[in-house]
Amino acid sequence: MSVDLEKILRPVDTPLPKFPAKYMTLANGQEMVVRQAERDEIPDILPHVEPLIHVERDFYNIVAARLYSELLAYYTYRVQDEYVLVAQIDGELAAIVNGRSVSPDVGMSYHTFSLRRGLRVGAHAFATKMEYHIDILKQKEVLIVAESGIGFRRWMIEYNLEKRFHIPHELGGCPSWSLTKELFDKARNTLVVGRRPVPEHLLEKAKAGILPPSDPPKGPEDLLAATRSMLDSTATSLIEMRRKQGGKIK
């Protein structure tokens, strides 16, 4: 008697509407395409997330580490109703946003991960994620937490999110904030941007493959100086971590 173990271990996904791709012009005139990633594209995305697990700045390390596990969970069918959206500029990976659907009315936002700094890519990506939950999945609210102060300022403060502190968020059980449909509708004109349909040539370039980001966030160029800047004379934190990686210490 054989048991289909995989069938037992996989959660049963609810059929969810796909995210219709959109595009937007960035401040430098380039165009960015945001589309839903297919499961089999995840292995192409993981190598660009991994290096940031070792960047101890702006909470890149925890966001990258958690995102990596969420992407892997999606790829190996170990999470229910997760979606992954990717933003690409000229095919290059610029941002990843993900989350999942908890119920027909409630969405759970996971992460907003930006690999291209300085062009408000994160703002565009986050807004697109909210559009997916509210407009496309037609949910009533999305639960959100922020790991970094920058996230907090841009989302909790700017969108004026409601407190749902009695609901533990799936990210670490922290008190949740909520973007309700009303709040989203209020902000629609200024914060929800982008156009559809995506022009053929842009969509083709994006779908052709996920190219590595040309200038992703990196760790400090001078590890010893960085540890000194954190008032650490023993040079323990960053160096130890780098040593474990087998990397060179300047």
Partner: protein, 390 residues
Amino acid sequence: MREVYVAGIGITSFSRLEYPLVEIAAYPGLMALRDSGLKKVDHLYVANMGGGRINGQTGLASAVVDHMSLTPAGAETIENGPASGASAIKQGYMAIASGMHDVVMVIGAERMREANPLEATDFVATLTHPQAEYIYGVTLPALAGMFTRLYMEKYGVTARHLAMVAVKNHKNAMDNFFAHLHEDITIEGILDSPEASTNNPYVADPLRFYDVCPVSDGGACLILATAEVMKKINKPMIRLAGIGQATDTHCVHERKDPTELLAVREAARQSFKMAGVKPSDVSVAELHDAFTILEIAESEEVGFFKKGEGHLALERGETQIGGKIPINPSGGLKAKGHPVGATGVGQAHEIVLQLRGEAGKRQVKNAKVGFTCNFGGFGNNVVCLTFIKE
């Protein structure tokens, strides 16, 4: 009074620096010593605004002088808000011109990004008047927003003109290795496209994201010396020929005509008079564009253009590199960055580079007279410097 020359210069990149504040100050000092060939200085001035509050380091100059093994030279920290840099250069000038010292090192340094953005905003807001502005939640961008609205109403400056300043300065910064932002933004991206409201959201309307300079870390250094020292080290003779400083009311609302920057006007006048040149003699200028409107307003107040016509000259391309009076070839505060204490010294660094003919792709041809305007608070304390190539 003796003549004062620039013997050496140094600068860090103005971006996010994961170095202690003291090292951000020391590195350009080291570069300037190597540039000048000098081994020692008689005195050190360090311009800095946030050391105590943001970085937990008061008495910065005392820390830097030892860090650079320059003890027992005297050292002082100079704080004049965003005009700290030019004020420190002024102190260096007076030390040499008076005969007290022969070689003085002036460093400007700031590490603002050690704090989170909310703390950085609060910190800069302490420049405002405590009872009459601060309690209302007024920040420098708020004052600039109110100023911009009046300027638009009175002189017809539009959002497009502000965007043109940002685009020009970003373009200039693409050729500046040290600049904070290397982003070739376009008018389409920040103003015309349907996504402009997310790309370029309002900060203090009518000012938008790309009208406000970034929060930067950075350091810059100038070594000033007498003519005798200059002869020995065989460096180009760039003379600090004119200095001007003036103040205005603390509260912006107390100014007779809030569209006038009287402190800029007076400081520039003094600086040109002392140097013996006119605004029309200036080959290249670095103006304080913490907000894009300020580049336009200052270009008028210092005398490059008539009051209310700065934006027209901008339209005609007169302030581009290659134009009649190139302004902010380095990218200005908008694209090069604004580490508050370092900015004034950074502006002087760019001017010296230009007058020496060492500015590479952003070189202004035949630069002979350079001018900087370092704007403290919101126009209530301004220091202007004039440099002449001999």
